[in-house]
């Protein structure tokens, strides 16, 4: 049984104040709606994708309100 580890970027919508840094730092994962708030990519990305992981980490660290987290999803795969 192999473990399939994927990641997803998640926002706390109450903390988020629409600064938009995340869309600059991780454009593959975040777009902004017409009011400047993030629309996050719902699909999880694989652990092996280093570039996207790096973007996600930059976005998390760059958020002025610390509203972002990276959620790890572990699914058993037989």
């Amino acid at each position: 049984m192999r473990r399939n580890v994927t990641f997803r970027i998640v926002v706390d919508p109450i903390r988020c104040d629409g600064f938009g840094h995340c869309a600059e730092l991780a454009p593959e994962l975040v777009t902004l709606d017409e009011w400047g708030y993030p629309i996050l990519q719902a699909e999880a990305f694989p652990q092996s994708d280093r570039e996207i992981r790096r973007s996600a980490q930059l976005a998390v660290r760059g958020c002025p309100r610390q509203a972002l987290t990276v959620q790890k999803i572990i699914a058993a795969q037989s």
Binding site: G18, F19, L32, W35, G62, P64
Partner: protein, 194 residues
């Protein structure tokens, strides 16, 4: 034994002036962050990075200023006076105000280094004391410069105060469109062709 030298004194003064200028820059950059400027030619995250780097530079110059002032035996200021106000025998009030500025700056800077570990609302409230720190630094700068008041010193001080004042008014009064919710990158902005 005394450690003194005109160069120590010059360094103390010059680093003080540079600290004030750096503090001005930090505050202006902070205001640019909160008014959500940028996104087209300059990334917003770049402005935030600048804000963080320059605040570090500011703290370094403040450290140089404090250290050179304290170790210089020409003026009698003990280490404790750097953090506890009204304990200096040399020019008690002007130094005290500088001490207050330093205490506030330390609180803001340290809390930002520990930003992930502390309550976001507490961090935000504390961060606003950077304005108070600037006011204290400006008053300190004006008062300690009394015996050596020079025109360029006043010009620098006046310019810093004017810049911070203008930027603050601009932040409070607001940009023409409400800052929150409007972003250079948002599709609405792009569709307006601006």
């Amino acid at each position: 034994m005394g450690l003194t030298s005109p160069y120590l004194w010059y360094t103390s003064r010059i680093s003080g002036v540079i600290s004030l200028v750096m503090l001005t820059l930090v505050i202006v950059l902070g205001i640019l962050i909160s008014t959500r400027v940028g996104g087209r030619r300059v990334g917003r995250f770049e402005i935030t990075e600048m804000h963080r780097s320059i605040s570090l530079i500011a703290m370094i110059f403040v450290a140089i200023h404090v250290v050179t002032t304290v170790i210089d035996t020409y003026v009698n200021i003990h280490w404790i006076s750097a953090v506890v106000p009204m304990t200096s025998s040399y020019r008690r009030l002007p130094v005290a105000i500088g001490t207050v500025a330093l205490d506030l700056m330390l609180a803001v800077w340290l809390s930002s280094q520990l930003k992930e570990r502390i309550d976001p609302r507490a961090w935000r409230a504390l961060h606003f004391s950077s304005y108070a720190s600037f006011v204290a630094a400006a008053i300190h700068s004006y008062l300690v410069g009394t015996d050596e008041r020079s025109l360029w010193g006043l010009i620098v001080l006046g310019s810093c105060v004017a810049v911070v004042l203008l930027a603050t008014v601009w932040r409070v009064v607001g940009r023409p469109e409400r800052a929150v919710g409007r972003t250079a990158l948002s599709p609405l902005e792009q569709s307006k062709g601006r």
